[in-house]
């Protein structure tokens, strides 16, 4: 990006040491992304409650601000003001680190997401592998939280979550691989450009998209696959013992992952920032919010599946589907 290289050379010519000048642009980018995540998560939590409410013919939050728009801010203030509880008997360090381990990779993924033709923190040529690797980190944080809590619900929730995440990682990555085959690149920016020059990949990858959507719902721990925090069985799963800001970070991570998923879905299958008329960033946000709405819509419609059904769907349903899809995509690419 021109702005950041100009900033860098400006700092160097102003006499800053090179290592410090090298440090500034990435930090500014990280801050912008963090701000983006925080703003959107604040809005998304409100949106989720509104969508949930209206789907049940309720209203959702109404009291704070017009239609309760600042409800989330009030909630955050409440969470910050809460006592920092570390229950007796927990594995202290692991317990404290788990939310951070959860949030850091969710945040780092935003580095490679293309918000526009030039609006990307770092256009990695292995972006898809990078995302797949980082999103798998969630398993570790869930296990850390579940194990360190020294609580049967937490441990059960974490065990379920890790079983689920590891199973669904496989079809997810395979369905993403077929998109990479089509575009001939692992860089998200290249995938978007390839789509804007030809067509949206949803047209040739409907099965791939279906697998991607289902596996993502499981990866996001969202209903109908919210086994890890199945309230009726497990209280709150791995974050049963968490409260206050630590819990809020888990919550934030969940919504950051939701944004990541929506960005991935629109980038891989729906042309990312490309689109007629409107500026690229606006197109991108429209698509992202459409997918976020879709996920919320599914969450408040479908009931939770059982744990054995979950494994069935993952291994006996999605995996063969995605493999067949990959094979056909390969043949298509060869014959093209």
């Amino acid at each position: 990006m021109d702005f950041f290289s100009a900033m860098h050379s400006g700092l160097v010519s102003a006499g800053w040491p090179l290592w410090l000048a090298n440090l500034v642009p990435p930090l500014v980018k990280a801050l912008i992304l963090l701000l983006f995540i925080l703003l959107n998560c604040t809005f998304l939590i409100w949106m989720e409650r509104k969508v949930a409410g209206h789907m049940q013919r309720r209203m959702g939050p109404m009291r704070l601000g017009p239609h309760g728009i600042i409800q989330t801010i009030a909630d955050v203030v409440k969470l910050i003001a809460k006592e920092d509880v570390i229950p007796a008997g927990v594995d202290r360090w692991v317990f404290v680190l788990a939310p951070i381990v959860a949030f850091a990779p969710a945040f780092a993924v935003f580095m490679v997401i293309p918000f526009g033709p030039n609006l990307i923190a770092q256009d990695l040529n292995i972006a898809l592998i990078f995302i797949a690797a980082l999103t798998s980190f969630v398993v570790i944080s869930f296990l850390m939280a579940g194990w360190s809590s020294n609580n049967k619900w937490s441990l059960l929730g974490a065990m379920r979550a890790s079983a689920q995440l590891i199973s669904y990682e496989v079809p997810l990555v395979i369905s993403v691989a077929s998109v990479a085959l089509l575009a001939g690149s692992l860089s998200l920016q290249d995938i978007v450009r390839a789509q804007s020059q030809s067509f949206w990949y949803i047209l040739v990858q409907p099965i791939g998209f279906l697998v991607f959507l289902t596996a993502s719902l499981a990866e996001l721990n969202r209903s109908p696959f919210d086994m890890s925090e199945a309230e009726q069985e497990l209280v709150a799963g791995y974050n049963t013992e968490y409260s206050g800001m630590r819990w809020a970070i888990f919550y934030l991570t969940e919504y950051a992952n939701l944004i990541t998923f929506a960005a991935m879905a629109s980038t891989l299958f729906f042309g990312g920032w490309s689109g007629p008329g409107l500026p690229p960033f606006v197109w991108f946000m429209i698509k992202v919010y459409f997918f976020i709405f879709l996920v919320m819509w599914i969450r408040w419609t479908l009931p939770r599946v059982r744990i054995d059904q979950l494994m069935d769907i993952g291994w006996k349903g999605l995996l063969p589907l995605s493999l067949v899809n990959l094979a056909f995509t390969g043949i298509y690419v060869l014959l093209r």
């Binding site: 209206h54 789907m55 013919r57 309720r58 209203m59 599914i298 408040w300 419609t301 349903g317």
Partner: protein, 164 residues
């Protein structure tokens, strides 16, 4: 293979049906009432606390006949009155209704021969102090004047026809 595809089709179809239901409800108006700001239209025959009604001049219609106190199964009504020289009607001195005892049966209203008592539309009686829940003559009369719902055939006397 055929069964596998049929199951996928079934899953997609039922999911789509469910999604249709929720999106239909999403765009239907909410049925929530924002309670302190908006209030439910009380149904005919609603029985709030019994109140004393006044006539057009603002005088209580009560004649201190004590039929309501006698009719009350929990004896929560206390009436004291005296006669004055040259006046045919008794003068009502005390009319205490203990809302902590009252069970809102409406028998007092039914017993009243002068339509001087009515089941009101007041139901927000919560208080931190129990003694405030003993409603005296003046408070009952005041609530009776605030009465917005038509009370002429209010309470259990209602024949079922809408009063509004």
């Amino acid at each position: 293979m055929g069964r596998f595809l049929a199951e996928i089709y079934k899953a997609l179809k039922s999911a789509a049906l469910g999604l249709k239901v929720t999106v239909k409800n999403l765009f239907s108006p909410a049925i929530t009432l924002q309670y302190p700001d908006e209030r439910l239209d009380l149904p005919v025959g609603f029985r709030g606390i019994p109140v004393l009604l006044s006539d057009a001049e603002g005088n209580l219609k009560c004649t201190s006949c004590e039929l309501c106190a006698r009719a009350c199964p929990v004896q929560c009504i206390e009436i004291q009155s005296h006669r004055e020289e040259g006046r045919k009607l008794k003068v009502l001195d005390v009319y205490n209704l203990d809302a902590t005892w009252c069970m809102y049966c409406g028998l007092c209203v039914e017993a009243c021969p002068f339509d001087a008592l009515a089941m009101s539309d007041q139901f927000e009686l919560a208080d931190y102090d129990l003694t405030n829940l003993v409603f005296d003559r003046d408070r009952l009369a005041e609530i009776g004047r605030r009465q917005v719902t038509e009370t002429i055939n209010f309470g259990i006397k209602t024949g079922g026809a809408a009063t509004r």
